[in-house]
Amino acid sequence: MRYFGQKLIQLVIVVFVVTFVVSLALGAIPNAEERIIASTGQGVFTEEDRNAILDEVHLRDPAVVQYGYFVKDLVTFDWGVTFGGNQSVRSSIWDGLQISLRLMVYAQLVALLLAIPLALLAAYRNGGVFDRVSTTVSFGFISLPNYVLATVLGLLFTVRWKIFPALSKNVGFFEAPFDHFKNFFLPTLVLALPLAATYMRLLRSDLINTLQSDFITTARAKGLSTSHILFGHALRPSLFSLLTAAAVNVGALVGGSVVVETAFNLNGLGRKTVVGIFSSEFRLVQITVVVLALVYVFINFLADIVYGLLDPRVRGARSV
């Protein structure tokens, strides 16, 4: 119980500091006031207009008051409107989140579907031709930066063969399934391939360890079929580090697919934030970063708790 208590305390501290830092980050930006005024794009101001705008973002209040307003707005979902346009921050983030979530789910699915069978094949004939080829190829994919992959795939699929559109549009799945596939195929592939390579290597080394254990020998001695041994006996105990990596990547992918979203012109959460930073949409950036950070923190917290439940040794260890 002490383990969970400690984790909970740490969670509270991290959440507090993250929100606090983000709420005050506005004041740390050089020329924040001018940038905000400029981003509203309404030209000349009287002093009163100026003050009204700046009062709205509470920039001139003391730190604690700023933080109070920030938390209040955050919890009540009163996220205001973007400085430049008239879209509300909430709907803007929601639009971006849909695209990013879609990409994340697709990429994870494709990566896992690729990685698990490949890892099983490679680990079963450890040291064989397939193992060496797949390990080498996956090593290559791990070293492949995603903007390089995006460029190469873009050249092949959109310029040379013209199969997929160069700039993806956000077409809903139910409106036009085929178009949806066409528009999301390349971004998904760019995200999924390096991910699959990482997953494959993790699962392979765990599987090799598992396949050397006694219960596999027993299963083999019982005369079970190879596929039964692999899927029924070997896979489950080897999934631990794979699932850890997948869980950590959920958080990272939601906000972290900035490059892929930029490469394929998808207005996901990551790209929105980057554009927001450039166009001084501080409110949008603040809220997005806080939401992403909180998602990450909670996923990690849940992962820690699940480990604690699954493996009593973790609870006893001194490590936090």
Binding site: E34, P145, V148, T151, V152, T198, S205, D206, G256, V274
Partner: protein
């Protein structure tokens, strides 16, 4: 690169490590070849990066050429040589007009829209990319390593405080944090694109690299701090500083060095990602990322502009990763983060 920026050194290959000793020599030789190839490539790259200004493939000014058509530099634009494919690429033509006796294909990597030679720009780019990567990882190791050593050795409350701070840094999406730092603190005025120097980029990458390094060093330190030789040193009256410097640090070093090498690859890629988003060193100084980004706009007419620097970047990252893999097998480093 997985965009997480969380290095997974050698992807936990301890199973493969134990098997390697029994592998037939044929496979081990193949690993050796890969290792030496990557060393050769990196030495070549460092050499050209350091000597970029003095090496013969870069002509500094067009004045030394009698024929304007031969002029290939990385500084003087030459409209006669705009967007030429590399000389070996007989399958692709330039879409630009070929005037007079200007060659249709030119250079090892071709030329870009300004007529700059892409090969020499890649080598000047190596200078920036490698410098940024190396500087960031050095500072990252210095700060992160110190924090990790303190956290792992002192333990208790200090450990908790440092660990919590690292968790806070990790909870921000890595690339967004870097973009934020570079985007807002990199430029002094309203002009975003003007005069962005190398400093803020290194700062951003250092901040990204500190938490993983600190975690790794902390985990390793904790293991060694409990060992008998530390106890022995302490009972001989050694001070804490001495124990850390003379007993623990040499043991933690291999893991740190291996991690630094893999980390450098990741940071080079991260710099490329920043450049790709238009946030790296400003225009006249090329980095690989900004070259790829610039070339991507021209993918339909001049593929070599993006692909050639991308190949150089990929080979470099691959070579660094391979070396990191070899080192981690040598030192038998297991996944120590967790």
């Amino acid at each position: 690169m997985s965009e997480t920026l969380t290095p997974t050194p050698s992807a936990g290959d301890d199973a493969g490590t134990s098997a390697d000793t029994q592998k037939p020599t044929k496979y081990r030789k193949r690993g050796q070849v890969a290792k030496w190839l990557s060393i050769v490539w990196l030495v070549f790259l460092v050499f050209t990066a350091v000597g970029a200004s003095w090496l013969p493939y870069v002509k500094h000014s067009c004045e030394q050429f009698a024929e304007k058509a031969d002029c290939r530099t990385h500084v003087d634009p030459n409209p006669l040589l705009s967007e030429r494919p590399p000389f070996w690429a007989t399958f692709s033509d330039t879409t630009r007009p070929v005037v007079g006796d200007a060659p249709e294909r030119v250079g090892l990597f071709g030329t870009d829209t300004n007529g700059f030679d892409i090969f020499s720009r890649s080598m000047f780019g190596a200078r920036n990319s490698l410098l940024i990567g190396a500087m960031s990882i050095v500072f990252g190791i210095l700060i992160g390593g110190t924090l990790g050593l303190i956290a792992g050795y002192v333990g208790k409350r200090t450990d908790k405080v440092i660990d919590t701070i690292m968790n806070i840094f990790l909870s921000f999406p890595a690339l967004l944090l870097a973009i934020f730092i570079v985007g807002f603190f990199g430029s002094s005025g309203a002009d975003e694109a003007e005069s962005r120097s190398i400093g803020p980029i290194i700062l951003a990458l250092v901040i990204l690299s500190i938490p993983p390094i600190a975690r790794l060093v902390r985990a390793n330190t904790m293991v060694y701090a409990q060992r008998e030789f530390v106890l022995a040193a302490r009972s001989l009256g050694a001070k804490n500083g001495r124990i850390i410097a003379r007993e623990i640090l040499p043991n933690v070093m291999p893991a740190m060095v291996t991690f630094a090498i893999t980390g450098m690859a990741i940071l080079i890629v991260a710099e490329g990602a920043l450049a790709y988003l238009g946030l790296s060193v400003s225009a006249p100084t090329p980095t690989w990322g900004s070259m790829i980004f610039g070339g991507q706009q021209k993918l339909e007419t001049a593929w070599w502009m993006a692909i050639m620097p991308a190949v150089v970047l990929f080979l470099t990252v691959l070579a660094i990763n391979l070396l990191g893999d070899v080192l981690s097998e040598k030192f038998r480093i297991k996944e120590a983060i967790g």
